[in-house]
Symmetry: D2
Subunit: 254 residues, 4 copies
């Protein structure tokens, strides 16, 4: 069974900041928040983690192998280089969705996301080193079958985007509600899902669901590992195998 460690990243009191003393230029906000995400992606990534932009003011990272001190170092780096600060809540659980519930509670217990006194929270319980295993993280990397041929080169850019977006909205809700999993759109036609203990039939079910619910044809590679990077790279290779073989699901299942 998986044991996923996730970190909820929240920009402190961000909403009010964006309109104080007057609404700030949208392009500057876009630049600031996407660069902050880019940095976090590198910081977590250097230790085997993954970060997802999610809502940008609330981001999620897979952080198996990282302790609170590792998190504190990133918090300090953000404080020294950005006009905003970040809070981190850490949780872990067999089910990724429950791990994030726990991580969220760590922050909510300290106050509102828009409480200007609540800054740089760092709370939660990373997995102990001696409890870690080589299959703690299961990642499923989905993409749309022949997205370029069927959509990008055929439809206008927004119609393509609508298809991708509806497929993602369908999959992310379904994976969460039915499988306790967390799915993140990562650009292009790619969705990376943090799953747990799902087998071949379970993944088949998700592909079928999205086909019927949103009329989007997905394929998926699945991998596991001690860290997000290990699991994610295995999943990418699974997806490559799907492309080569014309199959829909390839990979390692627990």
């Amino acid at each position: 069974m998986s044991n996923t460690q996730v970190t909820l990243i929240q920009i402190d009191n961000y909403g009010p900041w964006t309109v104080t003393p007057a609404p700030r230029r949208e392009v500057d906000l876009q630049t600031m928040q996407s660069r902050l995400f880019a940095d976090l992606s590198q910081h977590f990534g250097m230790q085997g983690g993954y970060a997802f932009f999610t809502r940008f003011d609330n981001m999620v990272a897979i952080t198996n192998g990282m302790d609170l001190e590792d998190h504190a170092r990133i918090q300090e780096s953000v404080r020294n280089r950005y006009p905003v600060t970040v809070s981190f809540g850490v949780g872990h659980d067999e089910r990724p969705a429950r791990a994030l519930v726990e991580a969220t509670a760590q922050l909510q217990d300290e106050g509102s996301a828009q409480d200007e006194q609540r800054t740089e929270v760092l709370r939660g319980q990373p997995i102990e080193d001696d409890e870690r295993t080589d299959s703690d993280v299961q990642i499923a990397h989905y993409d749309v079958v022949d997205a370029t041929g069927k959509y990008t080169d055929e439809l206008d850019a927004f119609s393509t985007f609508i298809q991708i977006e509806q497929g993602y909205a369908s999959l992310m809700r379904h994976l969460h509600d039915e499988h306790g999993s967390l799915a993140f759109f990562v650009g292009g036609d790619n969705i990376i899902a943090l799953t747990s203990g799902m087998d071949d039939a379970a993944f088949e079910e998700t592909v079928t669901y999205v086909r019927e619910d949103a009329d989007v044809e997905l394929q998926v590679g699945v991998g596991h590992g001690a860290t997000a990077h290990d699991a994610g790279m295995a999943a990418k290779h699974g997806l490559e195998t799907c492309r080569e073989r014309g199959t829909h699901i390839e990979g390692e299942f627990c």
Copy 2:
């Protein structure tokens, strides 16, 4: 009536690049593409434009006031600093959705997004200077009523995200199909829509639609101007007025 100029930004042959010679690290791809977007946001923003990350490999910008030479300069800057290049297709129309159809066609006419020979396309017809007016761009800035109080501080982070995401998926499809408009999620609980000639009743209809379809309560500020920045800043002020007055729709309508 509006006259929106949009630019479709496409990373050339990006899909194949991400897996050649083997799948590249996800965290590096995330960093690279979000920084590229951040730079484009500044580049277009310095001339009054807006850029949206959309799918990251395909981005959309509002570029009223910018000619092909301005675009070429950005293209050159990307080539000099990134491992990838970008193509630009430019279109304009009363209806934002049709402008993007035109912009997309400019690129599709030159070949596939995954044709390795098709690089740095720069095509399209910017609006002539003497045809520009002070109300060419209409922008509607939506957000979720009391998102922090109702969602962020109450639900776990992913359940909140699901709500925001379903609201966006609903709005973006509806605005496109029924109003010829383009809506982009820009982080937090914010959606910026490039609209055209919509009046108070039309915006009311969109808010009602999303409430019924996705059970998400939106408010919206509307502005127009000669550029995305001018229109967008007016829309932001409209949204501030919504927050102060507890209203759902504020702004300037054509």
Copy 3:
């Protein structure tokens, strides 16, 4: 005769900030200040200007063609994305060195660089549009003859660096004191000088001076134009000609 417009960029109250409440991590300061410079380089560069990192807390830009509003826009973008703010003083003169004296005075008149009340100063007199000419900016691009063959591939990295550094220290002082010019190290073995009305013999004199004073052999391409970019690109082409022909000085002289 040239008419150079320069902008002095000063990070407000930066020294105290770096040690408040305690010394900040050096690597974060390095990252923050070099990214700030990188952004300024793009911002000024998009309008034909050049920015030089100089001391990083004090930077210098060539800004012919940019007015105070253009500067204000950059100031706003920095404020929205960094933990620090910047002040700009603008000056212009036939002699680059005197232009920078004027630009510096604009800031000093408003208070100390470490006065925490003195933030986001924006003062000075850009050149009027109708006074601009196609030869306002003269740029000389120097590099070291066969630096790779003679130094980088032969000496250890620091011994090479000492040579380059001594050459730069010699040239920058000499050009300033004797020619009213401003020379900036821009990486590798490259030095970009903002000069004025220097002819072939004057450049010859500088090359001879550095050979004798620091035992470093330079070559130089010279160009002029309405903006830093135009002049600088002509200078680069001059330097390419030096390399091809084995000459020491090539370019356009006033």
Copy 4:
């Protein structure tokens, strides 16, 4: 005695790249290389190291505690996000200058810095874990006494810069030639030197030398530690003590 591990970072075949197929825009080169340095500063910094921009095409890092695999991960990240690649040579020695000689040799043995076949070299011998001690790195952090009061607020910006630059040129050569040490300008009026086994009298001598040679008054904080960060932070605190007490040299000496 110290045991400093240094890494020479070289952008592969960079000179030719900057002029192929024609000279590239200077502002883009400035942005690209300063951002690359900024990233490396974070990458090495996250593991306790320091990176110095030096010549930008050749950079130097203090990397005690990092092995070749850590270096390879950074190399991969650069390749995935930049239009250039980097080579790393690693060396260690009691004397920092000799460590860099060794690191340089690792790269020179593989070919010229402008050999287009010689890319992503990764060679050298990191210090074995069981040979590391808590005082392997000695760092001296110099700055100019009252630089703001005496220079920045009094002289024009370039005259101030000349003073700082001459002081640095003097110190870096002297420390290298007489003490086997490596000194790097890090912005403002700050110089960070990687030293070895220097005592109070030796630092006194360097301050006296620069006062007489370049007429610049320095003060210096000294620290040591297992990593650059540990040593550097101790040195910063030493410098703070100098400021408080009006002394010239404070810190820990071996």
